[in-house]
């Protein structure tokens, strides 16, 4: 994680007056507009609480505003947002003691329609993801919402790639088993 910061920091240049300049750094309002869906969605998929997700998303952007001087490039901003949002999501769930880690057995059964339509199955899967254990949940969100590679997820969360692999594998196993059980057929 630190290494990534340093790598991204290297893209910044220093002018004759000693003031840091960054080529093509968008302004704050543009960044909010461009990345609000990403930040909000990570929080939404993790917390499954729209109000909490919006509040924390606002806090993340305010923290970005306070740390604006440290931003080196557009790429750095995205990396920073993903990292801070992921950690804030975990903190928020712990602090509020949202009962998201309830047993998968306790998750509501899909309706008859959910068994038929993919869109309803998607909604069911979203709920299932939100009920996964903390570590599995955040890696699944970063992998399937953000489409990040294992190495990128490891950088964002500051964990080993092997841990990311294990957590994704376990999360998928759990989701497959539960979905298969609900649908009454094997899921590949």
């Amino acid at each position: 994680m630190k290494g990534e910061d340093e790598r991204l920091a290297a893209t910044a240049t220093t002018n004759a007056a000693g003031v840091r300049e960054t080529a093509g750094l968008p302004n704050f309002a543009e960044v909010v507009d461009r990345h609000k869906a990403m930040v909000f969605s990570i929080l939404w998929h993790y917390l499954r609480d729209r109000t909490a997700a919006e509040e924390v998303a606002q806090d993340v952007f305010l923290e970005l505003h306070r740390s604006w001087d440290a931003m080196k490039s557009a790429e750095h901003i995205v990396f920073w947002l993903r990292r801070v949002t992921s950690h804030r999501a975990i903190d928020c769930a712990r602090r509020k003691r949202l009962h998201l880690e309830t047993s998968l057995e306790a998750t509501a059964e899909p309706t008859a329609l959910e068994r038929v339509h993919d869109s309803f199955l998607s909604s069911y899967l979203e709920r299932m993801v939100a009920s996964l254990p903390e570590k599995q949940r955040i890696v699944i969100v970063l992998r399937y919402q953000e489409g990040l590679e294992l190495e990128q997820i490891a950088d964002v969360l500051g964990i080993k790639i092997s841990t990311v692999k294990t957590q994704i594998f376990r999360g998928l196993e759990l989701l497959r088993a539960k979905t298969a059980q609900r649908l009454g057929r094997t899921v590949e």
Binding site: S41, W44, L121, T179, E188
Partner: protein
């Protein structure tokens, strides 16, 4: 990617926050910036320079290493001082005990002498 993972990817599609989300963030950022300006300190890009510099100084590896060394020194100094104190207290107690033994010895000798004085005339008779 397996069909299940494709389905999962679809399910995890990004969503938009409320329409006025960006406006609220920018308003809060402006308010926060205004409050910081009122509370003093030169600001660059919405952040106070002195605070940033101080925070950076406290988090620099050299300061952290120095703090760790100072803490280690303080702890080991405390342990040595405590051992020294204990040793001094032990020595003082030993001295007191020796004095008490010496006093007791003198008294014992006095009593012994007195007993001999009392016993001697009886023997002579």
């Amino acid at each position: 990617m397996t069909p299940f993972e494709e389905q999962l990817k679809q399910a995890m599609a990004r969503r938009e926050p409320a329409e006025d989300f960006a406006r609220r963030v920018l308003e809060r950022a402006d308010r926060e910036g205004g409050q910081q300006a009122e509370s003093g300190g030169r600001r660059v890009g919405g952040k106070r320079v002195w605070f940033s510099a101080l925070s950076g100084w406290f988090h620099s590896p050299r300061v952290l290493r120095f703090s760790a060394a100072a803490a280690l020194l303080a702890v080991s100094g405390g342990v040595v001082f405590q051992q020294h104190e204990q040793s001094e207290r032990g020595e003082a107690a030993k001295e007191k005990l020796l004095t008490a033994v010496r006093i007791a010895g003198v008294k014992l000798r006095q009593v012994h002498r007195h007993v001999l004085e009392v016993e001697t005339p009886e023997v002579e008779q």
